[in-house]
Symmetry: C2
Subunit: 336 residues, 2 copies
């Protein structure tokens, strides 16, 4: 199995991607890794890895698409960037999976225009696994498509279902639609029109999920338009930080609380780890013709190796093939 | 000052509204209260209040619009409900303020069709004050308008600005637009089209606010369409509950944590109180021609008295008049 790694993407590049790749090579003996980027920069961090060095290929990719430029223009112009080179190699089956912690927009644009969509898929979507303290749920879409049509959301359900089956190993994932009420007639025009379509979709649709139940383990796949999904993703991060900050402040306000805080440190450390969504790796880009994972921009080496582990599971779990079949089952046979 | 109270609305009616009204009458010597509902039911809880009894008027309103029926039909048909009677009395200046913990939809419909909108206002909005641990921010709209146009959102800014000036006493409230990115060109079609209109609106527009910053005290008024606003309101509730549950579970997992939990009890109690958004009363319905507060359905007597306190502040702070002026300043003088 050959994994393509963008060595120049993310806040801690190239160190984190390179060291993360080495960690992954040790963990997964079945893989080979292509590290793409500025070769002398990559080589700096390839010390002490003689045990896996023979499974690493270096590939010159001197250009980087930054967060500041237009992703579509970046993908069009920077043909020597890891993003573009990797997507083309994935398309041509020269590699089996792609991981980058670089510009999300560039990964999206590269996936759309260089790798290509799965036939029948209208819009690929980003879908991170989010913690709820007990298990994880897949939030799809979390930002790739800010303006959606009901058809997109129905397909997000197909993609999420395929991911939870293939990667998490679930038999019959519960697919819910994020809404402001539980009843079928609730919501804005988008979700109201989506609901009946989901009812007849080929997955286990469990109905609307109110925002207050998002973290209550009532569904395994939570479908939303990319604007709402991104609000939830980011608000979860912000709220957790705010609440932990308030707890800390209130505990530090008196001696009693300070002592309690000291004793409770291991418990708080467990809570933090439980709610840390970077632990699972990154967000898969679903709906494109290959296994693509967008790692968190702030990924360290370990998070990066997790993202590589995730793309391996996507390949092993045949997520792309399952989506292909699912979307084919979804399309009304107009030709018939 | 005369406050109209729907004595039959909410999970704990008529006890909570009646006892809450009595509490408010003791706290605010300047008010008189009309309690509307099934009079014998109300009278059951009017014991031990001889000190304020002379300032209470009972009004027969035998019908109740429930959460299960269509609010618009309910308002049309149930002319003997407290909601309809109260809104008409407010319109006719027989009372100065209105409080109900009943069906949100009925309060909205009653406000729109019986009380009426402020001239120039396209859509009234529900706007609860939310805690961030340090201060409160006004979230507008949180569910009255699930499908919005840019013009509505711009007006929500006017309403929120008026509320924070009149009720909270702020001089120059910061008005932010909830979005998935900080840059002006980010977001879905709705917010992208709203941004330039807000830039020229007669309030202190501070730009886009990312969801991760919602609780970081970067704006006093946070504007969103009612779908997104409701997601945030409910998700905040759900997330706080989930996170506190996880903390509790992890602390109870070993003796060390249990001891810490015991010692930290007062600190946790303070945190809970800080994050309890029912403490501030309820959500004002802004944009209608009178002071209307929708109290939380689960309000107890104290929460109800807070909601009455809130409607008093709206009257004193001339919120309706300020919105009227604000929206007039907003409308392009097409006649000119």
């Amino acid at each position: 199995m050959r994994i393509f790694v963008d060595a120049m993407g993310g806040d801690n590049a190239p160190q984190a991607p390179v060291e993360g790749a080495v960690e992954a090579l040790r963990r997964y003996p079945e893989i080979e890794v292509t590290l793409a980027g500025v070769i002398p920069e990559i080589e700096k961090y390839l010390t002490n890895c003689d045990d896996v060095r023979s499974r690493i290929t270096l590939l010159d990719a001197p250009e980087v698409i930054t967060n500041e430029e237009s992703p579509v223009m970046g993908v069009r112009r920077k043909t020597k960037s890891a993003t573009v080179i990797g997507m083309l190699k994935l398309r041509d089956k020269e590699v089996d999976g792609f991981v980058s912690a670089g510009s999300t927009g560039a990964v999206l644009a590269g996936g759309m225009f260089r790798l290509g969509r799965i036939p029948g898929i209208e819009r690929p979507a980003l879908a991170p696994l989010m913690p709820n303290g007990k298990a994880h749920f897949l939030l799809i879409d979390c930002g790739a498509n800010v303006d959606c049509k009901p058809e997109y959301l129905v397909q997000f359900g197909v993609m999420g279902d395929a991911y939870m089956r293939g990667v998490v190993g679930m038999e019959n994932p519960r697919v819910g639609l994020i809404n402001i009420g539980a009843e079928a007639e609730k919501g804005n025009a988008l979700v109201k029109n989506t609901y009946p379509l989901m009812e007849s979709a080929p997955y286990n649709f469990v109905g609307n999920v109110e925002a207050r139940d998002i973290t209550n383990d009532v569904a395994d796949v939570l479908v939303a338009d990319g604007f709402s999904g991104n609000l939830i993703l980011k608000f979860m991060e912000g709220m957790a930080g705010t609440l932990m900050g308030i707890i800390k402040r209130e505990m530090m306000a008196d001696l009693r609380g300070k002592i309690a805080g000291l004793i409770a440190k291991p418990a708080f450390r467990r809570v933090k780890k439980l709610m840390d969504y970077t632990e699972v790796g990154g967000a898969p880009l679903l709906g494109v013709q290959g296994a693509v994972v967008k790692a968190h921009g702030s990924s360290n080496a370990h998070a990066f190796s997790c993202a590589i582990g995730q793309v391996i599971k996507m390949i092993d779990g045949k997520v792309v093939e399952t989506i292909e079949k699912g979307v084919a089952a979804l399309i009304p046979t107009e030709d018939a």
